[in-house]
Point group: C2
Chain length 203, copies 2
């Protein structure tokens, strides 16, 4: 299954919004604005202007501004969990599964869904307690995927450090790439970056 096919099937299941729909376009613009200016600095007027409607009209689609943030996060995790699952399934050995996960997450962070991924990492403080719990629940599924692969690597002796520590180091290292990795200028490709990450772990 290609990334696009995965997206399509999630849309069909109504788990993520069609980017072509009004809701989907808003969420995309919201992700971009939230990443660029931060959630708090982004006003409902900014959001409305980005999709060409009046600020009040937003509240026909979402009850509160925070609900928009939550929707961005929830849909992003859903999509990425599916993408990671597919990437891991495509590989055979634990080592190749990990490499596939690293590559897929780098692609999520630095590709089209990058805005939303950055929001997911850096804006969770802006969520209410209730929303945070909801997002965290989905995130645990996502993290479980990583942990099972890292644990199988640990079982075969290819990984010395504790899987959960390694995952957290990777989370930080990979998500931080969004602040500096610019594929266009400089010769480092996503594959090259993936290789460096694997080499850093002696794999």
């Amino acid at each position: 299954m290609s990334p696009n096919q995965i997206l399509q099937s999630l849309i069909a299941e109504q788990l993520v919004s069609d980017p072509a729909s009004a809701r989907g376009r808003l969420l995309n613009e919201a992700a971009r604005l939230f990443r660029d200016k931060g959630y708090e600095r982004t006003t409902v007027r900014d959001l409305a202007a980005a999709v060409g409607i009046q600020s009040g009209s937003l509240f026909h689609h979402f009850r509160t501004k925070e609900e928009i943030l939550k929707a961005v996060m929830v849909e992003t995790i859903r999509l990425n969990t599916a993408l990671m699952q597919a990437a891991a399934d495509r590989a055979e050995s634990p080592r190749d599964k990990l490499k596939a996960l690293v590559r897929a997450e780098l692609e999520s962070i630095n590709g089209q869904t990058g805005e939303a991924m950055a929001v997911l990492v850096y804006e969770w403080r802006s969520l209410s307690e209730a929303s945070r719990a909801q997002v965290l629940e989905l995130r645990e599924i996502y993290e479980g995927l990583w942990l099972s692969v890292l644990e199988s690597l640990s079982d075969t002796g290819q990984l010395q450090a504790e899987p959960f520590v390694v995952r957290r180091m990777l989370t930080g290292a990979l998500s931080w790439t969004v602040t500096w990795y610019k594929p266009e200028r400089g010769g480092l490709t996503l594959d090259g970056l993936t290789e460096q990450v694997m080499a850093m772990m002696g794999l």
Copy 2:
């Protein structure tokens, strides 16, 4: 020189504020509030209440709210540059220098200056263009320290990946520890964490 002696000499040089002074106490509280709630969600009334004065009185010490954020960042970088320098000087081999830097940065992130370090990493979007340039200038000195150590490791063949890529991966991985590392519960000490980082790099 102990960390405390370094702090004292920086205070004497007026490069950082005495934590016992009115200004120093405000900056400490500001760092804590900015980390916990984010810069935008922290109001001048919050800041004033934290040090027991009226909100208007803040503007006797700082011209704007943003100036408080800038001061937190500038003083934090100054202190940490000195701390890293001292840590690196204490070690002999490039490998030990790197380990000392990792250990020192983990301590900065997860110790007393942790609040301010988190602000430095996660709130730079809230800075104005002008302040950002100023902070970036100081940050380059700090990063230069790391790079020189990593380059010497690269020269001796102990490091395969590009130094600047490694540094950026480390920046992400180490600063991310602030979101999950809790020394009190769970047996992982700062030394243990440092070891895991070094092991992750095959060092």
